[in-house]
């Protein structure tokens, strides 16, 4: 196992990179929201429409990642790295919205031309997923 502090630091660095735009957006949204001054007051415990969209998007993006992880070529690649697909699947559940969105975007990008995926594409995505879920910190050495 890697030194966990280094791995966490590395992972945070990744989150910061993919998360920056989002944070910026969030701050601006809060600014815009508060400056308009007609926020609807809602019961705590109620799920707002905007929250519902976030939850649904997160779920559908996670499903894309899970479908990708269940491909046989991907599973083979994971095994080659000595990681069981189940371990990775379990960790996908705990990823942040930004991480899931980033991964799903990358998978869509690589698979845009159809289901056929070059070996290099599979390896790249597998490495990226392992990095994001914190199983390896292989990109540290690049």
């Amino acid at each position: 196992m890697q030194d966990s502090n280094t791995a966490t630091g590395q992972r945070r660095g990744f989150i910061r990179r993919v998360g920056f735009g989002r944070q910026c957006v969030l701050q601006l949204a809060i600014f815009a929201f508060t400056s308009l001054g007609f926020a609807q007051v809602s019961q705590a415990g109620m799920i707002s429409s905007a929250d519902a969209r976030q939850i649904e998007q997160h779920a559908s993006r996670s499903a894309t990642i899970e479908a990708f992880l269940s491909r046989s070529d991907v599973a083979a690649e994971l095994t080659r790295f000595g990681v069981s697909p189940e371990v990775v699947l379990a960790r996908v559940d705990s990823l942040s919205d930004a991480e899931v969105a980033a991964l799903q975007g990358r998978i869509d990008e690589q698979t845009a031309g159809g289901d056929a995926l070059a070996v290099i594409g599979v390896v790249f995505l597998v490495l990226l997923i392992l990095e994001v879920v914190g199983v390896t910190d292989i990109f540290k050495s690049i």
Binding site: F33, G45, M46, A50
Partner: protein, 298 residues
Amino acid sequence: MLTSGCASYPAAGFGEYVTAVAVPETPFVPQDRYQCGPAALQTVLQRSGAAVSLPWLVERVYVPGRQGSFQVEVAAAARAAGRIPYRVDGTLEAVGRELAAGRPVLVLQNLGVAWYPRWHFAVVYALDPVRGIVSLRSGTDRERHTAVDVFLRTWARADFWGIVVLRPDELPSEPDRERWFSAVADFERVAAAAAARMAWRTTARHWPEAPMPWFGLGNVAYASGDASAAESHYRRALALDPDYAMARNNLAWALADLGRIDDAVRELERALSSPKLPAALADEIRDSRRQIGARRGP
């Protein structure tokens, strides 16, 4: 989302796109100094019939210290003006479809280069594939005719960002369902109840099989203090998808407000017993059950 850094766009001109289309009625709002965001936004808002003044928009969109406005502020200001901003696909076909529907498209361009960006908002009002021209209201130019390849390069460097603004009774042409649902949900947060209700009703008519618009209508009714209307909307959503746990959660709150605590708790139990309940929601629903159960009193 990750962007692929410096996009090199293979300029392919209009490609397959052949339809000349224009919205000559597009208003012209010349910009002052750095105010391209407010000016471009006022252009599309005016075209859509929303009356807002430039100073009102400048206050919301233009942040002097940054000399430019971010896309999110433009979208937020459109919502505040009672319109729904919708991100169009980054293709000339998508722009052409909106123009054909009479809606000019607000676009972000990077007139600099990737490592030294110069952001600029402008409004596409015409496409002419025969002459290879994209026409814009841009800055102080009423008619800026740009070669299509030049336009595509500047647009690509801004990640093909472009929006149309829609009245609550309109839909984009060939809307992406998920993107539109999010656009309406974001609109609902700040819109007047009547406008939010109309937007969800319009959406429900277009996607009669989708529970989300009824969930949205329920939320609007609940926020306006009409728990019994909210109840019937949530039930409509649940008739379309009995496993729609979020609607069941909110239905329980509406029932609780109507004094039907036992019914409310029963709905939450049902949501919790569904095998399709997403893990992320289970805690939320258990929390609702605890809070609503506590209303039973001693």
